[in-house]
Symmetry: C2
Subunit: 325 residues, 2 copies
């Protein structure tokens, strides 16, 4: 197994020696995927290389401020005219994550696989993988340092975006000293951190606010104050014109109440099926809890589907949470 430093050098060599690259990231690209795609594009443009950026699916509207974000082709809008024999995949834990963009990979394509997911299986010809990096943007930060290119606010903003989003605004446990040192350097280049935090972390859709309101209206606490839950029905989703992604973060509200150990969002799928999302304040392993119902996840964030009515599901789940407390 080669060292990270060796992989950086190997990747550097690949980028210097070839030309005409296809740069792709994963389906439903998030902040780190978009930022990493653009960071590679920015580097290749500095090196005077030809490149094409491509995704299956559109980039999130809120990321349109990024350097050349509009140049990432969206496969949903039509195929590219040709195939590429030099491909750079960023933030894709496995090959299938590139989605339909693989249609444009030549059958003998050389692939560079740049990623931070611990589960990455090394599907590339060159693999630049750092499982303890907070984001793929962190790896690109290191890679770009190996080149003699002058960094500007565009590349700094792209890398900052990846670090900000993949660390949940510098709040998750992957926010390492290295991340913060990198962020310090990026701010020095003029990144507008407050604007990015507002745009990427604080902005909400109207549907999101409305459905949050519906959920909070159903808030209940256990007599001990250690379990709190809210629920959402299909009718709520319709009334609020809310999309599934608008539910993101709602389960944190019951969890964040002082004294609460387990917060739960019950989302009614249909009359006899409920999706329960669990968040733990630390004491309870909600992955184990979710497994009882055939679900899974992480120790502090997990979920399960329960084939029952909401009225039946709630006491069933509460009883199980109580057993885990």
């Amino acid at each position: 197994m080669q060292s990270y430093e060796q992989s950086l050098q190997q990747t550097r060599k690949f980028l210097l020696e070839h030309d005409d690259y296809l740069v792709v990231s994963h389906i439903q690209p998030d902040g780190d995927a978009v930022s990493s795609t653009l960071a590679v594009g920015w580097l290749l443009s500095c090196l005077g290389k030809k490149y094409t950026m491509l995704n299956e699916g559109p980039i999130p509207q809120r990321m349109e401020y990024l350097w050349h974000a509009g140049e990432i082709a969206n496969l949903a809008e039509g195929d590219l005219p040709r195939e590429y024999s030099r491909v750079i995949c960023v933030d894709c834990a496995d090959f299938q994550r590139v989605g339909l963009t693989q249609r444009h990979f030549a059958s003998d394509a050389l692939i560079v696989n740049i990623d931070h997911h611990p589960t990455n299986n090394g599907y590339g010809s060159v693999n630049l993988i750092k499982p303890d990096a907070a984001a793929t943007a962190e790896i690109l930060f290191d890679l770009l340092k190996t080149f003699e290119v002058e960094w500007d606010i565009d590349i700094a903003t792209a890398l900052y975006t990846g670090l900000l989003t993949d660390t949940g605004g510098f709040r998750y446990s992957n926010t390492s000293p290295k991340v913060m040192a990198a962020v310090s350097e990026l701010l020095e280049l003029g990144v507008n951190g407050p604007m990015l935090a507002e745009t990427l972390l604080e902005e909400m859709t109207l549907g999101q606010v409305k459905v949050l309101n519906r959920a909070l209206s159903t808030l209940q606490l256990s007599p001990e104050g250690d379990i709190a839950w809210v629920s959402i029905t299909p009718q709520d989703m319709l009334d609020c014109e809310a999309a599934n992604e608008d539910l993101e973060g709602i389960v944190n509200y019951p969890r964040n109440i002082r004294g609460v150990e387990v917060g739960i969002l019950f989302k009614v799928i249909h009359e006899r099926a409920v999706k329960a999302s669990f968040r733990s304040a630390g004491k309870v392993d909600v992955a184990a809890l979710a497994q009882v119902f055939g679900g899974g996840g992480h120790t502090r964030a997990a979920g399960a589907r329960i084939d029952a009515t909401l009225e039946d599901a709630i006491p069933m789940v509460l009883q199980e949470v109580r057993r885990h407390l």
Copy 2:
């Protein structure tokens, strides 16, 4: 005017030469005030000095994890037995901010004034003031570096707390490259950043969640989608058993909706008086807006009291906001 470096050295000398200090911060101490008090205490304990930490008012419950937080005396619980002739004031923009703790300053007390507020008028015998520091904790970070003491996780956690809270979780415009470089060093010492973010920024009281829900139930948007507002009545406050501080942050919800330029919270004080809190997404100077109603504030966060019923205040305010858009 002496340089910051000179002030650091002068403060260092003061702390080395004397003994038996009183360390105070401002009334209603916040994260930076508490952290800075404890950081000075930690340093003095390393130097083998005698010291007493004192506040008017209790330290917030959520900060009880801090090193020796329980040792900060609360004046509300009774006077100290004596006066002090060596006093260190932290995070107090003017002398009156120390509140009743001044009862325990000897009339000829030497005062060290350590603060980051631009309005600080230099009331100390020694003034260590850096107006562009994000927090008083940032100044203490620099001060502590001038001593040969070994930093541990306790002092790192205290300084991190001050930086985290005074930058709104590293999101305000005072989040400088220097802050992030300091944070990187503090994380290296083992600070549990995710735990601190949860405890200090994400935890809510039950009253807070309930009153947020009430406010969101009143959400309205202008036909253009650029003004959004919510309201809270005295009855809501009673029903939710909410305190005034539970309203903090609510006005961000209307402001954070995509497309909204001005978010407003109308808080009914009594039948004929309403407090309007304004938040701007950037385009509108809400300080100027608030001034129209005899209020004031900053360009992006301001407020005013309007002597009218809620029904009359809303259209009056909306008309004025429209004029500023």
